[in-house]
Amino acid sequence: MKVCYVTEWCHIIFVFLNHIKKIIYILFFLSFCVAKNVFAQQHGSRILFLLDASGSMNQKMGSKTRFEMARELLYNLADSLEKKKSNVEIGVRVFGHQYQNSAHNCEDSKFEIPFAKGNSVKLLKRLKQLQPKGYTPIAYSIFKAAEQDFPLVQSNTNEMLNAIVLITDGEESCDGNPCAAALLLEKKRISLKPFIIGLGLQDSFIKKFNCVGTYFDAKTEDGFKWILKSVVSQIMGNTTLQINLLDKKGDPTETNVELTINDSYSHQLKYAYVHSLNDKGISDTIKIDPIGKYDLVIHTLPAVIKKNISLNPGKHNIIAADIPQGNLQFGWIGNPTPMALSQPPVAIIRQANLPEIINVQDINSTNRYLVGEYDIEVLTIPETEFRGFEIKPNELKNLMIQAAGTASILFGEEGSASLYTTQLSRWKKIYDWGNVSSSTYEINIQPGEYDVVFIPKEKRQSEYTQTRHFKILTGGVTRISFKQ
């Protein structure tokens, strides 16, 4: 059973440490490359850390260097993941550690520690041997990681979760384009969901990662913890979401409505569900990736949108939305003529005083709408308008229109013809045949009194205009003839 439609997706977490005026900037850039079932039980996961070991990582950040901080964070992450998940394999690619700055080496990037289970201690040991010194080829490293380090992701063997976590303190120093690297991942049917975490990062830096990243604040130790927790939760899939759809009384009884959940940043659809209540009548819970912000669209009429939803990682999150609904039944009073039955009118539904059409409802149907007032235009001839039509909670409101009759008009010769109703003592055109032939024309009209005006073709004098006044009754056929 598929949980979520997303076939393959991928996040990159990019951990970025910087220390300017004692503020810590962190950039998470995590890539989960998952085929199909994101939250189904994964049989194995591979997490690749990309670690910045460029010269600037030697700078002190409190009592420790940035590199030491990064190493610690990496170890903690690896350790937490291993403890929570037995079958996770961790690997590390390091860049900027083999050549001095003076060497200007933009390909200084190496897959140092291959994927293995229970790797965290070994990993820490190895990292302690490394000395930061060189450049910062970020894009090159993402590129290499995507291309070489992971085994080919096959869309059908979808149980594997693959992730890239990038920890860095600085800007790409090799003119590499992280966006282009992201594009490569996309081409391999992997979509990116990166996060930039920091505060007061230089605009130019943020912009550079715009194509791949979302910006987060993390200026305190709590920020670190949040990131840690989020990454682990995301990999473990233990963040849950319950969406309570509230009725007029504030009780979560509304259900069976479609929900789409988009990434607020990229606008990509991440989840799509039809809401349900479980056997106990409680809104069903879904598992959700806690990283990032979401826009939730509840597809009622009109849709209800909740923007920029943040989740508490590793926790059960509850979102409530007021969507009290009522039913609108659109029907006929009386029986229309067979011809009117074959051309049924539709009702154009708008929220009161708003221009957007939210639905076009067929006759003899019932639809749910949010409680409120609507302006309704029924495309009969002439139009039937309802202003401020009220939908009440859990009530069935009837929108009834008189069933139409049919006018059968014989013009008798070619000419021009049009149809009028009287409104406030003036004629209002409600139909225009333009040019007519000598045959009989049938038109469905609402009950009432009308005037049809006809002038034979090629009469160059207005005196030849003829008018017929007639009456239409529900279900009745009125015959009109202009034949002399």
């Binding site: 479609e258 789409t260 569900y273 154009i348 059409i357 021009s416 207005s462």
Partner: protein, 457 residues
């Protein structure tokens, strides 16, 4: 007699107008064009006063007699005569002294003339009561009923002729009355002015002239040309229906399709010059001109900007697809146009909302002079949805980065056929028996024109 000649001329002029326009429709006489003229003549004592070497009554007799002759020649007019103050001496103060002496019939000229001959003014002036009685003097039926009041004094029985005249007009019994005052003093003229169109005359020559002018107005129809201007301000727009309303009566007086005559000019219409008109020209949107007064015996030209272009909506499908059309910056639907038709609109910009699935919105579509703007939409495809069980869900499409629901499945219908525009759609659904949200299923479908895609949920 000079005067008679003039009336004969008038009659000829009138019949000319008729024969030119209505040849083909032999029986065409609009009942609204049949006119009944009721003369309400003062027979009070003071009418004996001398006037221009004659007397007021003598001049009135002479002129009315000749008018009776002229009107008898007309096919579309009749004359009646009511006199007041002529039966009881003024010393009796008879406020009921009013009588219809010559009812409306076809050949009443002799009766009228005979009555005029024997008339001797003697009484007082019950104008209000006489007007009231006039209402029943006109035979029933749709007709133009005109009262011409000839008097040398004002109401002398305490009635309110103005209120009565107003009442009769509002009930549609009479048109606005004409009043000719014979030597009325200025100080009391306001008592007569409020009854209708009032004119005071001081000698018999101007009396004659005024009566002639009134009859001219009443019995001829004035010519009117409506110029519907294009963007170059040339009167080339035509084939539009026009409705003329009587402002006072608030009803439709004439309805004519605009035509261009054989000379290539907007056709001349013959309208009643007495009434004021409101005019609707039924373009889309309609244009109107209100409170139009016509000048009698004059070719009136009314120009209106009616520059139009056409909008053609085409779809390879034959279904009754509709498009809502709205003027830009306006909220209300202006017109609903069916597909595979072409309609004219006033030049300008319009917003279109085509009721396909999904709806196609087109903003700021320009309609320009004499051009046809064509909107063509691709043929729809069909999605056939077969449902195994009761399904919650619907069809979605991506618009401006968000997924929009465009169709909700009908809950207890197990086979639905939905016409969709070509494109990519996503179906999000859950079977009612599946209580878990994660059991929601997604199906992507691609719809192509004229092709059917069948899916089973």
């Amino acid at each position: 007699m000079k005067l008679l000649h003039r009336y004969i001329f008038l009659v000829l002029f009138f019949s000319c107008l008729y024969s030119s326009g209505i040849q083909a429709q032999t029986s065409f006489i609009n009942p609204k064009e049949f006119t009944r003229v009721l003369f309400l003549l003062d027979g009070s004592q003071s009418m004996q006063n001398s006037w221009d070497r004659s007397s007021r009554i003598a001049e009135a007799k002479r002129i009315l007699s000749s008018i009776a002759d002229s009107i008898s020649l007309l096919q579309n007019a009749e004359m009646g005569l009511r006199i007041y103050g002529h039966q009881s001496d003024q010393s009796l103060v008879n406020c009921h002294d009013t009588r219809l002496e010559a009812p409306f019939t076809k050949n009443n000229t002799k009766i009228i003339k005979k009555k005029l001959e024997t008339l001797t003014p003697m009484g007082i002036t019950p104008i209000a009561l006489s007007l009231q009685k006039c209402a029943n003097d006109f035979p029933k039926g749709e007709c133009r009923n005109v009262i011409i009041l000839i008097t040398d004094g004002t109401e002398s029985c305490g009635g309110d002729p103005c209120a009565i005249a107003k009442d009769l007009q509002s009930k549609g019994i009479i048109l606005k009355p004409f009043i000719i005052g014979l030597g009325i003093e200025n100080s009391i003229s306001s008592d007569l002015e409020c009854i209708g169109k009032y004119k005071n005359v001081t000698d018999s020559k101007s009396f004659e002239a005024e009566l002639k002018s009134i009859l001219n107005t009443v019995l001829t129809r004035t010519t009117v040309e409506i110029d519907l201007l294009d963007t170059a301000l040339k009167p080339t727009e035509t084939s539009i229906n026009m409705t003329f309303y009587d402002v006072q009566m608030m009803n439709v007086r004439y309805d004519y399709y605009h035509t261009i005559n054989v000379r290539g000019n907007p056709d001349t219409l013959l309208l009643d010059p007495i009434v004021k008109y409101n005019l609707d020209v039924h373009t889309i949107p309609s244009i109107e001109k209100n409170d139009i007064s016509l000048v009698s015996n004059f070719h009136n030209t009314i120009a209106m900007n009616a520059a139009q272009g056409a909008l053609r909506l085409t779809s390879p499908n034959k279904s009754g697809l509709k498009c809502l059309i709205k003027k830009i910056n306006f909220e209300n639907t202006l017109w609903v146009q069916n597909f595979n038709t072409s309609e004219k609109y006033l030049c300008g910009n319009y917003d279109l909302n085509i009721l396909t699935l999904p709806r196609i919105e087109m903003k700021n579509i320009e309609i320009s002079q004499s051009k046809t703007t064509t909107i063509q939409i691709p043929a729809a495809g069909n999605l056939s949805v077969e449902k195994n069980g009761e399904i919650y869900g619907g069809i979605f499409y991506l618009k401006d980065n968000s997924w929009i629901k465009l169709y909700e499945f009908k809950f207890k219908i197990y086979l639905e056929n939905i016409a969709l525009q070509p494109g990519n759609y996503r179906i999000i659904y859950r079977n009612k028996i599946n209580k878990k949200m994660k059991e929601t299923k997604i199906k992507d479908v691609v719809i192509k024109s004229n092709q059917m895609v069948a899916i089973t949920l």
